[in-house]
């Protein structure tokens, strides 16, 4: 009997294990597998603009327009559109397709997508109490958007209470809440002055004329409105569905989401995987070629060959070859005979991503308004001296010209040197790159020829030891700093894992040596004038985030991702409503704002030339004349060599919005592509591009 029982138990275990197996029923589905790095926090596209969330709902919900594989803006839910000027306002009217359906998580039709859905979505993201993180683009673009947002914000507060709280906080402010309350008071004041803040959404410039006709009225005319529409601010949502499940539950799981995009979320489990399956009701089914997308959480091993081994064992379908993985690099890039290079790799299915698609740029910030020094290694006097120094233009120039920025990329091949605020190749006037406008402006201001300044821009335009030393001496003289006060200690904050901190310390050491006039190779150098100090107290990502939030640093770097296709997407972050404004000396605010509003006067396609000229003037002012920030690097796949099971050149191309993350048009290859095949594909692609 006992033997029987034990046999029975073993049998049960076996049954239990097999019963939990679907045994690959979906073998005939075309599947794409890959890794993801950061977990999605929510699928609610009305409140989130975080990178990891955005790339996930790009495939789930479609907006009015999208990009094709050549980068042109093409209709998505909208069929056609027109823009006209009525009473000095730019009015855009969109005519929607009538065959776009919402699907639920089972793939059943739920409702038809109408113009009202776009209005509802914007209403939720512009209402303050919904705590949206991505209201700002729409609030600034759409007429009365910001006024409505402010009105809903103020409805939570009482003016007299705010005043008394501010008075209390002025005496003691243990939690650093003063700035928050002061900004609320400022909104109160400006709203009372203008009398435009109305708690009524019908005043906002978006109207559904009928079910399939949608109208936007913009606060000021812009040339880039269509590209802004590809951003997640302007995705639709069904009001009926929200009433059913509640806004706070929307997008929390696959069941509380409606889909009109190419894919339906079929599985999401935090810190494990995300799975998408093709939407059977999608309006453009013919262009969706992959049935299933599976993203596993990246296991987090730092071994250089891990992704290659995962690719070769069939765990993933695409990887970028790591230069530190010698075996993989030889196999896919250099080849047996050693003939391949990064630009011309040798392996099958290996291709270099033709152009950069990710225009996230990194700037080195000079914090000119530091107030907090709780986590600092410096004393109060040292912090104040550094503040004073950073508010001096010549001192900022000395710092900028003294850093060898190429050192930042010693161990990181995914970054390129950035010389300008708006990266090269980001926006074009016909075929003229905006970058050329900057070169023109630079040569005009410095009285050199176009060719000369092009040569300067091709190298590191900032790095100049003599200039750095001169500017530093000038700054010290201007600031009346006595020799007892020297060196000026500048605190640098950046979180690196262990692997990177060594490089980081080397970089800072080099920088210090250059600034104090020592040779880079010299072993001993007394830092007499300036000393960049690394904040050792910050040793986790949490500390770093807190330091960033409280602006407890003098130097750090910060990334900016473009929202629409126009240089102002970067430049506006320096204006008084921009995200970088709080780090700048506020005396620059008015000047920059005036220039930005001047730029906005030129919005038609024919005046694009003037617009870009003005933009380049502003950029010269920020980047070279006043040196408010130092452009550092751009996330670039130029140097990335991909080995992929996807057909090359089948990806939607855009430098902004959701399109680059979409899997529509993408195909899984059935045979191996040799380098010659890839060249042929590239030729075909170029031909198609020139026709379009």
């Amino acid at each position: 009997m006992k033997k029987l029982i034990s046999k029975f138990l073993i049998l049960l275990v076996c049954v239990a294990l097999t019963s939990s197996c679907s045994c690959d029923k979906d073998n005939n589905l075309i599947t794409y597998k890959s890794y993801y790095e950061q977990d999605v926090t929510t699928f609610n596209y009305m409140i989130s603009n975080e990178y990891q969330d955005v790339i996930s709902f790009a495939n789930l919900v479609d907006g009015l327009v999208e990009n094709d594989i050549y980068g042109n803006i093409v209709p998505s839910i909208a069929n056609s559109w027109k823009s006209e000027i009525i009473n000095d306002k730019q009015v855009w009217t969109f005519y929607l397709k009538d065959n776009v359906y919402w699907s639920d998580y089972n793939g059943n039709k739920y409702d038809i997508v109408t113009a009202h859905d776009f209005v509802t979505s914007l209403k939720y993201s512009l209402t303050y109490n919904m705590k949206s993180n991505n209201y700002s683009l729409a609030a600034n673009l759409i007429e009365n958007g910001l006024n409505y947002y402010n009105a809903t914000l103020l409805s939570n507060y009482n003016y007299n209470e705010i005043i008394s709280t501010i008075n209390k906080l002025k005496i003691s402010d243990p939690n650093n809440e003063l700035t928050r309350y002061e900004s609320i008071k400022n909104i109160f004041d400006s709203c009372n002055e203008s009398n435009l803040c109305k708690d009524d959404f019908s005043t906002v410039g978006i109207t559904a004329i009928n079910d399939f006709e949608l109208q936007f009225v913009l606060s000021y005319p812009v040339p880039y409105f269509l590209s802004a529409l590809t951003y997640c601010n302007f995705l639709p949502v069904s009001e009926k569905f929200i009433k059913e499940i509640g806004f706070n539950n929307f997008g929390t799981s696959r069941k509380t989401l409606l889909y009109n995009g190419a894919y339906i979320l079929s599985n999401y489990s935090h810190s494990s995987r995300i799975e998408y399956i093709k939407n059977p009701n999608y309006w453009d089914r013919e262009n969706v070629f992959i049935d299933k997308l599976i993203f596993h959480k990246y296991l987090g091993y730092r071994a250089a060959n891990f992704t290659r081994l995962a690719y070769e064992s069939g765990n993933i379908d695409e990887f970028s070859v790591n230069q530190n993985d010698e075996k993989g690099w030889n196999k896919y890039v250099v080849g047996e005979k050693g003939l391949g290079t990064i630009d011309n790799p040798i392996g099958n299915n290996t291709y270099v991503s033709s152009e950069s698609t990710d225009f996230t740029v990194y700037y080195l910030l000079f914090n000119q308004n530091r107030v907090n020094y709780n986590y600092s290694t410096l004393s109060q006097e040292e912090v104040l001296l550094a503040n004073k120094a950073l508010n001096n233009t010549n001192f900022r120039k000395a710092l900028s010209y003294g850093i060898d920025r190429t050192l930042y990329f010693t161990n990181n091949d995914s970054n390129d040197l950035l010389s300008t605020i708006v990266p090269k190749g980001f926006s074009y006037n016909n075929d003229k790159d905006y970058f050329e406008y900057i070169i023109e402006e630079y040569s005009k201001k410095n009285n050199i020829t176009f060719a000369e300044s092009t040569a300067l821009f091709n190298n590191d335009i900032y790095y100049n030891l003599n200039d750095s030393a001169n500017y530093l001496d000038l700054a010290i003289k201007e600031l009346n700093i006595t020799s007892e006060q020297l060196p000026i200690k500048i605190e640098y904050t950046y979180y690196h894992n262990d692997e990177f901190s060594i490089y980081d310390k080397n970089r800072i050491e080099n920088w210090n040596k250059v600034l104090n006039g020592c040779d880079i190779n010299s072993i001993e150098c007394s830092y007499e004038k300036v000393m960049i100090v690394y904040n050792d107290e910050i040793n986790s990502i949490n500390d770093y985030n807190i330091a960033l939030e409280r602006k407890e640093f003098h130097l750090t770097f910060l990334g900016i991702y473009p929202d629409y296709n126009d240089p102002t997407t970067y430049l506006k972050s320096f204006g008084s409503s921009g995200e970088l404004y709080s780090y700048l000396n506020h005396s620059f605010g008015e000047g920059i704002d005036n220039m930005l509003s001047e730029i906005d006067k030129y919005y038609t396609d024919s005046s694009l030339d003037t617009r870009y000229k003005l933009c380049s003037e502003l950029e010269y002012y920020i980047g070279f004349e006043k040196n408010l920030i130092l452009p550092l690097s751009i996330n670039s796949y130029n140097k990335h060599v991909f080995v992929s099971n996807l057909v090359p050149f089948s990806k939607m191309k855009a430098s902004y919005g959701l399109s680059p993350f979409k899997f529509k048009y993408r195909k899984i290859r059935t045979l191996d592509y040799t380098q010659e095949d890839i060249k042929k594909l590239k030729e075909e692609y170029d031909k198609g591009k020139s026709i379009k």
């Binding site: 939990s20 999605v40 939690n175």
Partner: protein
């Protein structure tokens, strides 16, 4: 699929309980429930349960205060999300801390309470779209998975943890016990030496390296998926093999050790001198006595399967609860950390309680007469 799994787990648990009850008939000894209720065993059980409840009270209260004496910055980062938790009465702002504590007890006590589960804009007003009865209300996650209720995260994650933990535990037992018995019978044989060697190796190398080598082994050599998927049997193989070897050899080592201790005791020598054959001595006498202390730990281990195993989960992408706690701390998700700490505390209390109760049921030799404490004769 999941339902069938639970049915099987239920049957297994029921079988275990029936086996325990029929083998060790403390309760049914005199066929008299009344006798049991008056006995010191009953008093002891009641005492243990009361102790468990008091511990739970302390855990909940301490967690509440410890989370709230965190630096204020910790909360300031989450100003944006407070509004959602206001809806659930778990907001921590502008209220007397003891009032908050009472509200917190109310939400956490397991009885049904009506809470609003959804909101929408009606004109400009936020209106509740529906109410629901919730048994335990731990609030909503703020940055791990925005607006998802903490209780549902705990349920989902501990289920994955349990599936892997329980299957691994069964395999550990299936490897450990027979192997232990085998190597005890054939001492210094090849099997004994190999398992000793493996045991030492596994204990000696760092666990992260151990699991990483399994990831590499299964991915590169066997070309199997190493990222866990609950509905794909192939992806179970790698973590389960790693996990069963991790504990299996240790169990075998202890089984062997207990058996050898028993084999040298007087009653074995007596039995041998009486002329009983070796097989009968080994299986009828030695094993029964040797395995009792080991089997006693099984229910505790079963409960702790819900606890998750961080390194295993991180290595094989198992969406388990051990990993969740680490992520929640990293993401500064106050409500989730609070909920998880209480959940882990609850599991630990329950597992100790079960351990105590099982000791009573399993052990013939326990005496309850003196002061109600467990004294072994």
């Amino acid at each position: 699929m999941i339902v069938s799994y639970w049915i099987i787990v239920g049957i297994l648990l029921a079988l275990t309980i029936v086996a325990i009850l029929s083998n060790f008939n403390v309760i049914l000894k005199n066929n008299c429930i009344g006798y049991f209720l008056r006995s010191s065993t009953f008093k002891y059980i009641i005492k243990r349960i009361l102790f468990a409840l008091v511990s739970m009270f302390f855990i909940i209260t301490l967690t509440f205060f410890l989370i709230r004496i965190m630096p204020k910055d910790y909360f300031n980062n989450q100003l944006d999300y407070k509004i959602n938790n206001v809806y659930f009465g778990l907001d921590n702002s502008n209220k007397n801390i003891f009032k908050q504590l009472l509200e917190y007890y109310y939400n956490i006590l397991p009885f049904p309470k009506k809470v609003c589960v959804g909101n929408y804009l009606d004109g400009n007003n936020l209106t509740c779209s529906g109410y629901e009865y919730k048994i335990i209300n731990l609030g909503n996650s703020v940055s791990y998975m925005k607006n998802v209720s903490v209780w549902s995260i705990i349920k989902e994650k501990s289920f994955s943890s349990f599936i892997v933990g329980f299957s691994g535990f069964l395999l550990q037992c299936l490897i450990g016990y027979p192997l232990g018995i085998y190597i005890a019978r054939k001492q210094n044989g090849i099997a004994d030496k190999t398992s000793n060697f493996l045991n030492i190796i596994i204990i000696a190398i760092p666990s992260i390296l151990y699991f990483y080598s399994f990831v590499m082994l299964f991915m590169v050599v066997f070309k199997l998926p190493v990222s866990f998927q609950i509905d794909n049997l192939l992806s179970y193989i790698a973590p389960l093999v790693a996990l069963s070897m991790w504990g299996g050899f240790t169990i075998a080592y202890w089984v062997k050790k207990y058996i050898l201790t028993e084999a040298n005791s007087d009653y074995v020598k007596f039995a041998r001198s009486k002329g009983l054959n070796e097989k009968t001595i080994f299986y009828k006498h030695i094993i029964r006595n040797a395995l009792t202390p080991l089997i006693r730990t099984i229910p505790t281990s079963l409960v702790l399967c819900f606890n998750g195993f961080y390194i295993l989960e991180a290595s094989f992408n198992i969406p388990g609860i051990g990993l969740t706690l680490i992520s929640a701390i990293n993401l500064q998700d106050v409500y989730l950390v609070q909920g998880l700490v209480i959940y882990f505390g609850f599991l630990t209390v329950i597992s100790y309680l079960m351990g105590d109760l099982i000791t009573i049921l399993i052990n013939h030799k326990v005496n309850f007469d003196k002061g109600g404490d467990v004294n072994e004769k």
